[in-house]
Symmetry: C2
Subunit: 565 residues, 2 copies
């Protein structure tokens, strides 16, 4: 029996649900309502139009209402805003924004896919600035038109995905760009230690990056920061976050969850079983923790869009728990993350006895001319040995390593499993023992207490407290900088000179990447040293970790120089 | 108690075992014997020296005997060939190739890591040519010295990894290169349908690729082929395959397996428990089939090297079954494969009821300027729905997709699991629904009989037998070529014109990539057509499939033109 299925919101989730509904039934009437000017545009690609990667904003629109009708017999009405849901009579009211007229449509099933809107707080003086947000094609066209003059100074407020991508693209397009973040770091899908690599990349490319500094107010063409700093800005782009579009749902008496997003059943039904909700507007289950969260990502929206279409057509669907995998290009670096971060575990006071590993191997065989360091952090449960999350940053294939970890997490992998994943290898792509395998080995060694390590973020305290740090790099390498106060015994002399190292106190070893110092640490242990600790990530990891904060916090350096090679 | 551990073979496996042995014990005496001039060189990187990616052959050598001694207290003796193993007295005899002197060393534990040697069959006239093989740094230096004159014509015999990598690198370096393969295809880690993409790439880059043509003999500067063709060759590189180095093991009475490689216990012990064997010289278990195989890859060698060092030091080790993951760069294409191929299943007459899926999606959001087609083939068990293998080829990140599949296979993933892997997404990297997710959906649809498909390799028969093929691309796309005899109804007109399509015979639908025709196929099914079949990979996949064989077999084309975009 033919049904009438209405969809509120015609972007990612809504459009995908409509297409899937049509594949499952030729008979159903499917109407999609979109308040904005376009359906089915690539919202994730909006920043790349600013950077010139996408030549015309028209290209951002993947499907027109005409195409939807012709190819899929789906009615898509743009500039049509749904203003009310009458659940009793199963009727919605729509305002045609072209004519201003109100009209109604009845439904058998209703799908809410309204998305989330940029948060714009009532900051004092906000009326004095030229303010933009980035949500749809209209927004990006408005912004693009406002910055035809390349001498415009632009301030992007908020260092999340959209803020960073917009800032990067505008900088690449030649603008004077400031990126302002209230927290001590951008991109909280990365931990504080890892994100320093991205902080440096952003600074190096000439963006005026300001972290740990909240916007206190605005004046004409000026952002006023809590620190007292003033940032000149002809254009201000507000990207501090998004908030689920819940007003229609609320007014219709649909249940809102504790996160402030729409609550749904495991089948994505609201508390009205004829009304489904999907995408950025709903809250979802965590897969790695026992709670709800908001996850404004495209992958969950796609899963849910397909799932509700299946469910409406009598097929099974269970909205799964999500781990949250993401990636971002930041100038020359690829950065990816999956699962839990240390920061998230701490912020949510999760009861997990976790441990972390940082390694800095080459992304491929070091002989290949385009090899580069892959910064990799693994987070695992010390008791169950289960992998909880990972972050990778480098010029090389970071997303590959994180996709492997995301896959492993799906199957409940332990750190030991990571050593056994048979990844493909040829010199242009990886090493015989890939980054992921290596992280597994290091994690297993730590879990087995074969050796111990400290994170780059603990080294400053060690130096300041006068810890015994041995630099096992070979002598020529010292020219590239060293830890102030460290003792130098090259690995090649360690066995003949180890007696110089005291046995009655902790000994911290480091080399360039942590690899040779690991060998040195085990040698010392086998030679009777009971308290030997490896500096994870080595001088390389430490250089990144110290650099940004040395620059921005004007603190005393603990390294005589940085070395980023 | 300190032991004396001898290692025969100082390249990948041997050198890794030595380093791990040292990490586990400072006391053991560790001596490594290498017949060649170098230990610890990157054998996988040898071809890249020919292409100029690696500036000097010295760089191929990762560790010198001096470094092994100084950094790890490991004795490495190059140009020292072990000539006999006396198991009774646990003594080996070594010939110092510098002095010609014989000497002996006793052992507590012995590790065989002799590798595999290039096969050079006694082809008539072989003495008349300038013959090279590629196994070690000395080989590659000899070859490099012989081709200083860039006008040299080079024939590479054998289209396996080494043959293809050497041919590619020599072509990139500017030589006239022929690549000769006796079988109908190169690189049997890829199926015949997929490998056509690589055949085309090799042809397009000016290599004289000859497949299905066996070397019958040689004459001066000439390779004589079975077809009667003659290939001019100042230099001939023999790369038809490798054979495990088993002579020492055989002479010592150690067991050789049915594959001709050394047989070992699950702990990599030979039938003499004090003698271990690892790497290319041994046979291993398949993980996806119940038999032994030879797998000359670096990853297994690394696993075994570490494993035997652990086992010698009282730790657990079980040499796992292997799935065989690999990748190769072929000019501008990245190609990767894991698990079973259709060809391997057929050749080994494996009793599996398998099905395949071919998809040709974009590797990333199609708006991004460097997007490209990712050719992806998935092989799965129709009954258990388990993933058996996959192949990916494209300009984009093929190795990433295959690493994800390799990880999934490790955990026994089904095709349904593939749809649920939460991969990271941003426009520069992938699509919201990644290639792997999409392959899972298509496979599940096929397994559930939601729709059916044919492979590109079945289309020629369809055309020749007058099957009813509907091209659902939009009209402007027809300019890029079409299937001869196909009927054209654009997807946008399908619902108004479907009555033109007969209901009483099978209907084959295709578009550019297989995506729109899938939607069209479901529409027809829902409109009452009971026998609708999608052409997997679409016109794009078909173009590659037909191109190479049309060119080389002089057959009648079934396409009016090819379209590779």
């Amino acid at each position: 029996m033919a049904r009438k299925i209405l969809i509120i919101g015609g972007v990612a989730g809504g459009a995908s649900a409509a297409a899937r509904l049509r594949r499952l039934s030729e008979d159903d009437q499917i109407i999609m309502f979109e308040r904005g000017e376009h359906v089915s545009f690539s919202n994730c690609s909006l920043p790349y139009f600013l950077g010139g990667h996408i030549s015309s904003s028209d290209k951002l629109v993947l499907m027109s209402p005409e195409k939807f009708l012709k190819q899929y017999n789906i009615i898509a009405r743009t500039k049509n805003e749904v203003t009310a849901i009458n659940r009793q009579d199963k009727i919605i009211t729509i305002k045609d924004l072209n004519s201003g007229e109100l009209y109604t449509e009845s439904y058998d099933k209703l799908i809410l896919s309204p998305g989330a809107k940029p948060i714009v707080p009532p900051i004092p003086g906000i009326e004095k600035i030229n303010l933009f947000t980035v949500r749809n094609v209209t927004d990006i066209n408005n912004l693009h038109n406002a910055i035809q003059d390349k001498s415009k100074k632009i301030a992007v407020i908020g260092g999340g995905f959209i803020g960073v991508e917009v800032a990067e693209n505008l900088k690449e397009a030649g603008y004077d760009v400031s990126l302002i973040e209230a927290m001590p770091q951008i991109l909280r899908t990365f931990d504080y230690d890892m994100v320093q690599i991205l902080h440096k990349e952003i600074l190096d490319h000439g963006i005026n990056l300001l972290v740990n500094d909240k916007v206190a107010g605005f004046d004409t063409n000026t952002v006023l920061l809590g620190s007292g700093k003033k940032v000149a800005a002809d254009i201000v782009i507000m990207a501090i976050g998004v908030s689920p579009e819940t007003h229609l749902a609320k007014e219709a008496g649909l249940e809102i969850g504790k996160t402030g997003a729409i609550a749904t059943s495991p089948m994505c039904q609201t508390n009205d079983p004829d009304i489904y909700a999907i995408g950025d507007a709903i809250e979802v289950d965590g897969k790695l923790f026992d709670d709800k969260w908001k996850l404004a990502l495209a992958w969950p929206a796609q899963i849910q869009a397909r799932g509700v279409a299946d469910h409406i057509n009598g097929q099974d669907f269970l909205n799964p728990g999500y781990i949250g995998s993401s990636c971002i290009k930041v100038f020359n670096l690829n950065a990816a993350s999956t699962g839990l971060t240390e920061g998230f575990i701490q912020a949510t006071k999760m009861d997990i006895d976790y441990e972390t590993v940082i390694i800095t191997p080459n992304d491929k065989v070091s002989l290949m001319p385009d090899n580069s360091t892959m910064f990799f952090k693994l987070i695992f449960d010390k008791n169950t040995r289960k992998v909880l999350g990972a972050q990778a940053i480098g010029k090389g294939n970071a997303d590959k390593r994180i996709d492997v970890i995301a896959t492993a997490i799906k199957f409940g992998a332990t750190i030991d499993d990571l050593t056994e994943i048979e990844l493909c290898y040829a010199p242009p792509y990886s090493s015989a023992k890939d980054v992921v395998n290596m992280a597994g080995y290091v994690a297993a060694n730590i879990a087995d207490k074969s050796f111990s390590q400290v994170s780059p973020n603990e080294v400053r305290n060690l130096v300041e407290s006068g810890a015994y740090i041995v630099d096992v790099r070979e002598t020529p390498e010292l020219e590239k900088g060293k830890i102030i106060g460290s003792y130098h015994i090259p690995l090649s002399e360690l066995r003949s000179r180890y007696q110089e190292i005291p046995k009655d106190r902790p000994v911290y070893l480091h080399c360039r990447s942590g690899q040779r110092s690991y060998n040195g640490a085990l040698a010392l242990q086998n030679l009777g040293y009971s308290n030997v600790v490896n500096v994870a990530g080595g001088f390389l990891g430490l250089s990144y970790y110290e650099y940004f904060n040395d620059k921005t916090l004007n603190r005393n350096p603990i390294l005589t120089a940085y070395n980023f090679n």
